[in-house]
């Protein structure tokens, strides 16, 4: 117990001794404020639970999500199949659990591609200005002009369908908002004293960008990423619904909604349950992002 109070005191210290302590302290204070925000806690619980279950899916005592049993088609929820079975007699619960994996993987990969790209492009435009700024921001305008879902459909339709196609298609239109915000934030401090000081000390252009300008954009980027995630979940499941997601036997929520669509009047659970999960995951991300926005920057409220 003593250890715990000591480490909390170390984290909350007003006079951090090292850079690491200061950083961890900032994260700790942010978490404390997030945990005091009811909507934020709700979002954290929902997203955390779905992520945990998805990660641990192979360890859970579940039926094989691909095992068909044609004698047990469209059974309503029962003790053997807690959430019933689908048109091929596969266990719904197991398919729902395994279906979380591709959705979360796509969200993660899209964010990993679009956030760093957007931040780098935006910070470079804001820091260097001039023609670099003009060219990069026009490029951002072009990709902003595309309707996201439609472009994703067009990309998925022309390339082979699969996880990576979906990631590329969604990330392609995902980076410009990050770039715009980062540019505005960096441009505001371009002539600030600490940047001038760094320049005077002969810091290289790249180091100035990476170590001095980029960190300023991180807080708003985290908030934006949390608010961006639900959109990615919806586009991913929309692609799955149209049959442009993962190829069939793989369980995927959007595709499961589509499978159950024709029989929704006889077997409501096949189509409605995966939809509820899509709603829960994207609502969880929205709650989290909304609370993070309040916590990170109380001024925007």
């Amino acid at each position: 117990m003593n250890h715990l109070t000591a480490s909390v005191r170390w984290l909350a210290s007003d006079t951090p001794a090292t850079r690491t302590q200061a950083r961890l302290g900032a994260v700790y204070r942010l978490l404390r404020r997030l945990l005091g925000h009811p909507i934020g806690v709700a979002g954290l619980v929902v997203v955390g639970f779905i992520a945990l279950v998805a990660l641990g899916a192979p360890l859970l005592p579940l039926a094989d999500p691909a095992a068909q049993s044609l004698g047990e088609r469209l059974l309503p929820p029962s003790a053997a199949h807690w959430l019933g079975t689908d048109t091929l007699g596969r266990d719904m619960l197991s398919r729902l659990v395994f279906g979380a994996r591709p959705t979360l993987a796509i969200v993660l990969l899209v964010l990993l591609a679009s956030v760093p790209a957007g931040l780098l492009i935006g910070a470079a435009a804001g820091l260097w200005g001039g023609w670099v700024d003009a060219v990069l921001m026009r490029l951002a305008d072009v990709f902003m002009a595309f309707p996201r879902l439609i472009l994703a459909i067009a990309v998925a339709a022309t390339l082979a369908t699969g996880l990576w196609t979906a990631v590329i298609a969604i990330a392609l239109t995902g980076w410009p908002p990050y770039a715009r915000v980062a540019r505005a934030e960096v441009a505001a401090v371009r002539q600030a004293e600490f940047i001038q000081a760094a320049r005077a000390l002969g810091v290289s252009r790249l180091r100035l960008l990476l170590r001095h300008a980029l960190p300023l954009c991180l807080p708003s980027a985290v908030v934006r990423a949390a608010l961006d995630a639900p959109g990615i979940v919806l586009i991913t499941s929309g692609l799955g619904f149209l049959g442009l997601g993962l190829p069939p036997p793989a369980p995927e929520w959007g595709a499961m909604v589509a499978e159950g669509r024709a029989i929704v009047f006889e077997a409501w659970w096949v189509s409605t349950l995966p939809g509820l999960l899509i709603l829960a995951l994207s609502l969880g991300f929205n709650f989290l992002g909304d609370a993070l926005r309040d916590v990170v920057d109380p001024g925007v409220k």
């Binding site: 026009r138 595309f146 459909i153 339709a157 022309t158 589509a258």
Partner: protein, 373 residues
Amino acid sequence: MSAGEMAMQPQQPADIPVPVEPPPAVAAMPARAAWRRRARWLASTLLTVFITLAGLLLVTFLLGRVLPADPVLRVVGDRAPQELYDRVYREMGLHRPVAQQFALFVGDMVRGNFGKSLVTGNPIAEDILRYFPATFELATLAIVIGVLAGIPLGVLCAQHAGRLPDHLARVASLAGHSVPIFWLGIVGLLVFYANLGWVGGPGRLDVAYRYSVPEVTRLMLVDTLLAGEWEAFGNALSHIVLPATLLGLVALGYVTRMTRSFLLWQLRQDYTTVLRLKGLSESAILWRHALRNAAGPILAVIALTYAYLLEGAVLTETVFAWPGLGMYITDSLFAADIPAVLTATLLVGLIFMLVNIASELIQSALDPRTHRP
């Protein structure tokens, strides 16, 4: 000085006597400066439009011609004899350099020559014109529903900011953001059509009324009214009300949130304090003053939401068998009719761009402080 700026110099007629005391230069500045600003704004908007359009064309070209492994195989199938393959290869112009192919492609697009659908054999432009009104009707009704409900809700939230109604509306609007529209459509049909029987099912009209109304505008509600067929109008209404309301819910969430935050910003301004001191009631301040001052950004949000609804309509239409642009895209998709898909993509991108510019124009027209034409 550029030619444009030269043209804008006011002409000084020679026969007017020069006043003894020349007017201060400051007085003449605003008009000229305003014109220069307008010209610069117009030039930069046109440049953005041009570049965006070029980008749209380039991406659709790459998707259609360059990225697929072999666009010819997609047309002729993989069992075609070599002669047929070669002929189609030349017809598609694939033996030309890529830059020249792109130039030809742009030329075709600019002339409105979008090619023929691989499935229906009709010119794609003709097909799209036939499908688009249904989407337009659906999205327009949805935005009307979303705005008529969303703005009062937003005002309510601003009035009770931080209290229960505000929190409820916050959760509800986040839910509206998070719901997969295709799933909501299925559940809506299950409840309101199959179980309660309150609304018409999929499609725009019951089979019995089909072909009973002459096509004029291709907007079902307008056409039935023009023909004076009240029964058919009621039927069309019962079909459109569910998909439009569900799409409207998506718009509602966004409009409510944004209206709330714009109004709260207005309430922090000094003029609202003055109004309060004058003794105006809180709702009069909100409805008569704050809302009017926030009209510019709210309208801009509505325009952006409308563009977003066009996208949402793609998935909604699939569920409701609504013969609009979304249905056209998905049908072409399943038929592997890539030119049709890409042309529709291009069209939606174009509408997106126009709506964005329109929203910017509206905003600056309503708020002179943004200093644009």
